[in-house]
């Protein structure tokens, strides 16, 4: 047996940019995270050619999961065409040779910053959420050693205290994004800074969601068909953003999460936040034969 037969020919970089041992570690941590839903698993977050805080955690998971047959979609705050989304999409395509798409229905792997698409995801799709602050207890317990003990003891009283304080001071729960949610009745997680509108989409979803924080070096997961329940008081129901009656001024779609665009005269226009959903609605309105998937929300309401 020759040395040449035992070694691989020189390559400028590994497939999918990350080296084999990095991918192996991330895969193992993902399996652990899936086995204990909502529990944060530490990992040795590698350097990638992007600044920490710009989605390096999500990117490492995507690069670990990706294979040449996968179609990759990248979303940034609902938009497929923002600079960050375009850069990450192009980078993954370049280092892994994968086809890319903006169509949610066509995608196998969706990396997202702060949104879940409006179309229902399937069992064969994986959603990777970028997470800036993975620790939901950080606002109530700055000492991370104690926070880990609190997770171990399911000691989440102070999370409710935070909600109590918001109601006392403001008359309602003020938590807009990163709404703390109980996963599988055991661990409280932050579902990344997705809006409240998107949190119910994780509950008993068919798809696998992996959440990864590169700067904070933590991976956690919501496996398919897992309970994800926002923390609420028994007599103060969970409320999503009041967007059910708003209409997108470009696509005419109604009953989805909107971006507000302030106007010079003090009024506001609204634009559907999931840009690809809006594009598909416009193309369909213009007579193209475009497939629209089933949406989580029906007429602005999440079916119970």
């Amino acid at each position: 047996m020759t040395l040449q037969a035992l070694t691989k020919p020189w390559e400028p970089m590994s497939y999918g940019f990350l080296d084999g041992s990095a991918k192996r570690e991330i895969r193992r941590k993902m399996i652990k995270a899936i086995a204990v839903p909502g529990c944060q698993m530490p990992y040795a977050s590698r350097e990638v050619p992007m600044a920490r805080g710009w989605g390096t955690g999500g990117l490492q998971v995507s690069l670990t999961l990706v294979n040449p047959a996968m179609r990759v979609k990248v979303i940034d705050q609902g938009a497929d065409d923002s600079v960050n989304a375009a850069s990450i999409r192009r980078f993954i395509a370049r280092v892994a040779g994968t086809p890319t798409t903006m169509n949610t229905l066509e995608a196998d792997l969706i990396q997202s910053r702060h949104r879940i698409p409006e179309e229902v995801l399937r069992e064969d799709q994986v959603l990777v959420l970028q997470v800036p602050n993975p620790e939901p207890l950080r606002p109530v317990q700055p000492n991370m050693s104690i926070a880990r003990q609190m997770h171990a003891d399911a000691d989440y009283g102070r999370m409710w205290l935070q909600l109590y304080e918001q109601i006392v001071r403001s008359g309602r729960v003020m938590q807009g994004a990163s709404y703390p949610s109980l996963v599988h009745g055991r661990h409280v997680m932050t579902p990344s800074p997705i809006p409240r509108w998107d949190v119910p989409k994780l509950h008993m979803a068919k798809h696998l969601t992996i959440l990864s924080a590169g700067r904070e070096k933590r991976i956690f997961a919501v496996p398919p068909f897992t309970r994800v329940e926002p923390l609420v008081f028994s007599d103060v129901p969970y409320k999503v953003e009041d967007h059910a009656e708003l209409t997108c001024h470009r696509s005419g779609t109604r009953g989805y999460l909107m971006n507000e665009i302030p106007q010079d005269d003090g009024s506001s226009l609204f634009e559907v936040s999931d840009s690809e959903w809006g594009v598909k609605a416009i193309r369909r309105r213009d007579g193209e034969d475009v497939a629209l998937g089933e949406t989580w929300y029906k007429n602005g309401k999440m079916p119970s």
């Binding site: 000691d155 102070r158 409710w160 109590y164 006392v168 001071r169 008081f233 028994s234 007599d235």
Partner: protein, 265 residues
Amino acid sequence: MTLTLDAPRIVTTHPLLQVRNVSKSYGSVKALRDVSALAYPGEVLGIVGESGSGKSTLLRMMNLEETPDTGSYTLDLPDVEGNLFDLDRFARRMLCATRIGIVYQNPHLGLLMKHSSSGNVAERLLVAGERSFATLRTKATAALDASEFPLDRLDAPPIELSGGMQQRVQLAKAIALEPALLLLDEPTTGLDVSVQALVLDTLKRLQQERRITMVIVSHDLGVIRTLADRVMVMRGGTVVEAGLADQIFQDPQHAYTQQLVHAKL
């Protein structure tokens, strides 16, 4: 012989609290040496002694914040069995959260200073599993009212309150779940005399109305004399004298106790 309702009394032969032969060292410093204590249901045990005598260490052990090198601790309560020092962290936390209340000398140890006062009380109810906002609000208000906290300041954070008010919030938090045992670590130290008297009145009233077993630690003999049915005098980590309050104050046996009582008088 009949006893009036507010008279000190022992209604059972089984003590609620029993600490036996507890010793604790911190390096070469022996904080407690073979200390035993007991308190019967509904009575107030006062622990008095100079700074460094081990009284606060003993109180922290009763709150399961410390584990001794040797010794045992039992509480005669339903579902609470065996030596409590053998409990794991989770069981200790749940026992302290539901059955034992504590008021610290320093309110910063017992309160979240930037949360509302009602929120501080609600936290204790939340740990015990209460999840209705309306019930939390009602019970927190009732506990603060029982502690004679002014209800127009219900949602003021403790950091904006006076020392006396902060102690009342601590007290409300401690009694919110009707604990079987209330531990008080120098609850009036640092307060001016008039506020001290008000806090002591509140404690006395609560003890008479609810018959909570209390353990109060103080270096102030006046405070102990006002509240305690039974007194333990500590010095250098040991108990030098223990007995009924009247007996200790009227006929102190140990030279150190005599010195304390006479110095006070």
